[in-house]
């Protein structure tokens, strides 16, 4: 098996190199046969990497401890489920997964564009293959997944206990999918720069890729947060750790990109900016891998620190320099005929939304790199922790939420004050009333009041927008209200999917604000039969039970939760002990309701005194963070769904391309 995997990776490298040559020469000399051969090489590369992945999975499942990777990240007693997930439990496997996804996406892009985009597509495939060559080079020469041990190990060292959790199956693949799929729009942007076809065809052809990437980045971040919440046992879900930041920054830039491309599609503006954003998004995915793998920045995640850092940094610098050079050369051709006319316009709102998003990304970048920068400049390592990120981002988040209500409703080009008043009167009133009620209910933190008012304002604008659309449909086609809603969304899925995402963002924002401001924490050491109080709840510690499997020993405490004397739940927080690597871990008990989460950690058991230490958090409304995430995902699926109009537009391009293969034609502009 290892030999097959090794061989497959070597072949993949050669095939990727060939696909570059074939696509380059084929595009330069307009040789359709060579271009077809290049596409076939892309598919063959994907097949070879698939073989390598299958080989590694087979070795993991068979517990082949002659393989260093298998011996380092699994053990004989590890449950099968985690043997499968161990594929991305270590560095070599993670890079293999990354490469696999990249070659799959490249293969799909090659298939989609076998007749579309005859000019840009070959160069986009060249760029994608070049990225693949970097990763395949690492896998072949630097960090090899199929290295053998000198002597077969009797047992493996097991997977890190923190990774032995079902989120391990979901979070890393989602995040990687999000990271890697950003390469496709990037490659098309680079293709557009190389060929000089700078209209918006590269954006349109990769629109769904960009949303797809954003979808998985969103899920990846949320899954990571949820994982931290359930597993790490500190009651929170986000700690502004460098690794979290590395996943958050591409998400922010992708979000900015998805908004600003609308301005280019509608108004032919911000062309340079869009090219910059997609370049940044891609560079940040590499940067994320660089900081997590290089050990340049210390993180609680502490992945295996390895010699990968310099390679990633070099690749990153080459990518940034090459892309910037191409961009600078093309700037004269990217002048836009249109310009901003008024601050009170949708263009301006979107521009400011972009500035805020990129501003947040920059603040996060700055805070993450601060220890390195301060050490380089002043010779002392100075860190900024979560308070820095909270301080900077809190006001920016408010600005963003405001623009989220303002931007989608304001008119293009310019809006008169009268128009503004008409559109925004009721949402603004709703926001103020909500804030006022919260004030009367006793809330005094100005930030919370502002956040609630703005959240209500945004929800108000979305309701207004839906009502307007439904009203128009009912008037024109005489539909019932529910039918009108469904048709409205189906006919304009991109737009209304976007609004649904906004609803999700607002819900998540409320969850974040409430959980940051109103979390209570109680730490208590108690004996069996003792009761202690957390908020409105009484918690009685009933005792502890120890169970054992060959893999893990579990001490589970039983806690009865009562409210006003009535039992409401039995909670079972536990302490785990993983035998193979002699490590303890915590299993949190969570009772989640829309109003508040009760979160119980068994922090320790003292053998001498019999005291059990509990750490209990009562976090209001944190439920809505996850609920908002689900709404965002739902909205994204709607926005991604292919619609009839778009299909017709693509079919038209294909026909046009077939008629004049050398020139191609921009997609028909949608009104």
């Amino acid at each position: 098996m290892p030999l097959i995997g090794q061989l497959a990776l070597a072949l993949a490298l050669i095939l990727a190199a060939y696909s570059i040559i074939a696509n380059l020469v084929g595009a330069r000399r307009s040789l359709p046969a060579l271009l077809a051969s290049g596409r076939h090489a892309v598919w063959a590369t994907c097949a070879m990497v698939t073989v390598a992945v299958a080989a590694l999975w087979t070795s993991l499942l068979r517990s082949d401890f002659s393989l260093e990777y298998v011996a380092s990240y699994t053990s004989a007693s590890l449950p099968t489920f985690y043997k499968i997930t161990a594929l991305w439990g270590g560095q070599q496997g993670s890079l293999l997964l990354w490469t696999w996804l990249l070659t799959i996406f490249t293969a799909i892009a090659a298939f989609q564009n076998r007749r579309r985009n005859p000019e840009i597509a070959p160069y986009a495939l060249v760029v994608l293959a070049a990225i693949a060559i970097f990763f395949l080079g690492m896998l072949n020469f630097v960090t090899r997944p199929f290295d053998m041990l000198a002597a077969v190990a009797p047992d493996g060292q097991d997977l890190n206990p923190l990774l032995q959790n079902y989120w391990m199956a979901i979070h890393p693949p989602s995040l990687y999918t999000g990271y890697v799929s950003a390469s496709v729009p990037f490659a098309f942007a680079a293709g557009a720069l190389i060929t000089g076809r700078l209209d918006d065809s590269w954006i349109r052809s990769t629109r769904r890729w960009a949303i797809f990437s954003w979808f998985f980045l969103t899920l990846g971040n949320l899954f990571g947060a949820r994982w931290a919440y359930e597993v790490l046992g500190w009651g929170g879900y986000w700690a502004w750790d460098p690794v979290e930041n590395a996943a958050f920054m591409p998400w922010l830039v992708m979000t900015a990109y998805l908004h600003s491309v609308m301005i280019q599609e509608r108004k032919d503006m911000l062309k340079v900016w869009n090219l910059v954003l997609i370049g940044m998004a891609f560079a940040l995915t590499l940067f994320g891998t660089f900081i997590t793998r290089s050990g340049v920045i210390s993180s609680v995640h502490s992945f295996t620190q390895s010699g990968l850092g310099p390679y990633f940094l070099t690749f990153l610098i080459i990518v940034v320099l090459a892309y910037s050079a191409m961009l600078i050369v093309r700037v004269p051709k990217l002048r836009s005929p249109a310009e901003f006319e008024s601050y009170l316009s949708r263009e301006a709102a979107f521009l400011f939304n972009n500035l805020v998003l990129v501003g947040i990304a920059f603040a996060v970048f700055w805070g993450t790199l601060f220890p390195v920068l301060s050490e380089a400049v002043r010779g002392v390592k100075i860190t900024v922790g979560p308070p820095f990120f909270d301080k900077v981002n809190a006001p920016l988040a408010l600005a963003l939420i405001f623009l989220m209500g303002f931007g989608p409703l304001i008119a293009w080009r310019r809006s008169s004050l009268g128009n503004l008043a008409k559109t925004f009167a009721s949402p603004a009133l709703f926001g103020l009333v909500t804030g006022g009620c919260a004030f009367l209910a006793g809330l005094r933190q100005w930030y919370v009041l502002a956040a609630l008012s703005l959240a209500a304002f945004v929800l108000g604008t979305i309701v207004v927008e839906f009502r307007r659309g439904v009203g128009a449909r009912r008037h024109l086609v005489k539909e019932s209200a529910p039918a009108a809603i469904v048709n409205l969304v189906a006919k304009n899925n991109r737009r209304y999917g976007g609004y649904i995402i906004h609803v999700g963002v607002v819900l998540a924002f409320i969850g974040i604000v409430a959980s940051s401001y109103f979390r209570t924490e109680v730490k208590k050491s108690v004996r069996e039969g003792e009761t202690f109080q957390v908020g409105p709840y009484d918690l009685e510690y009933l005792g502890i039970e120890t169970t054992e499997t060959p893999h893990v020993e579990t001490s589970r405490a039983r806690i009865e939760v009562r409210r006003n004397g009535r039992p409401v739940a039995m909670m079972l927080p536990a302490k785990l002990f993983f035998k193979r690597n002699q490590q303890p871990a915590t299993a949190v008990a969570i009772r989640s309701t829309p109003a508040a989460d009760l979160y119980v950690v068994l922090a320790g058991i003292d053998d001498q005194t019999g005291l059990a230490t509990f750490q209990v958090f009562l976090t209001p409304l944190v439920f809505w963070l996850w609920a908002g995430g689900i709404v965002m995902a739902f909205g994204t699926v709607i926005a991604m769904w292919p619609n009839v109009r778009e299909r017709a537009a693509i079919a038209a391009t294909v026909r046009a391309a077939a008629a004049t293969p050398a020139v191609g034609e921009p997609l028909r502009r949608r009104a």
Partner: protein, 152 residues
């Protein structure tokens, strides 16, 4: 005023506001991140400040009171050759403790153990005691394999 300039001005203001936020936040939240050795060298100058100190837990100095949730231990500078790595069984004696750390009101971290590398967040008192707000254990993602001393 031409529209272009007017917009550049607005965008510039926005950028300046963000920059201002970053600068003030850095000023208010920055903490030194030092090793035990570096703190020792500048002890008088750093007294009273909030720091993050990286060091190694000295075996034989740990006391833990679960009743009051008070954890006390000594930390020292790890030997240079394996500075950032995880668990390394190095013979350090109680006498090697450079600073005394007291952390009140927090549960003992899972991974806390003698000889483990930790990051202590807290204020340095003039007597060389660190009143810790938080003790973080660095979790190694790879473990030194346990020596199979009694392996067949």
């Amino acid at each position: 005023m031409p529209k272009k300039i007017r917009f550049a001005l607005g965008a510039g203001l926005m950028v300046a506001a963000i920059a201002y936020l970053i600068v003030t936040a850095v000023r208010n939240t920055a903490e030194y991140y030092l090793t035990v050795g570096e703190v020792k060298a500048r002890q008088s100058e750093l007294a009273g400040q909030t720091l993050r100190v990286a060091g190694r837990v000295v075996p034989g100095t740990i006391s833990w009171n679960p009743e009051t949730l008070t954890l006390a231990f000594g930390i020292t500078q790890p030997p240079a050759q394996d500075a950032p790595a995880g668990v390394q069984p190095v013979a350090i004696t109680a006498a090697a403790a450079v600073f005394h750390v007291i952390c009140r009101g927090q549960p003992k971290p899972d991974m806390f153990a003698p000889g483990r590398d930790v990051i202590v967040e807290g204020a340095l008192a003039s007597d060389g005691t660190i009143q810790a707000r938080q003790v973080l254990t660095s979790c190694p993602s790879k473990y030194a394999p346990k020596q199979p001393a009694t392996a067949p």
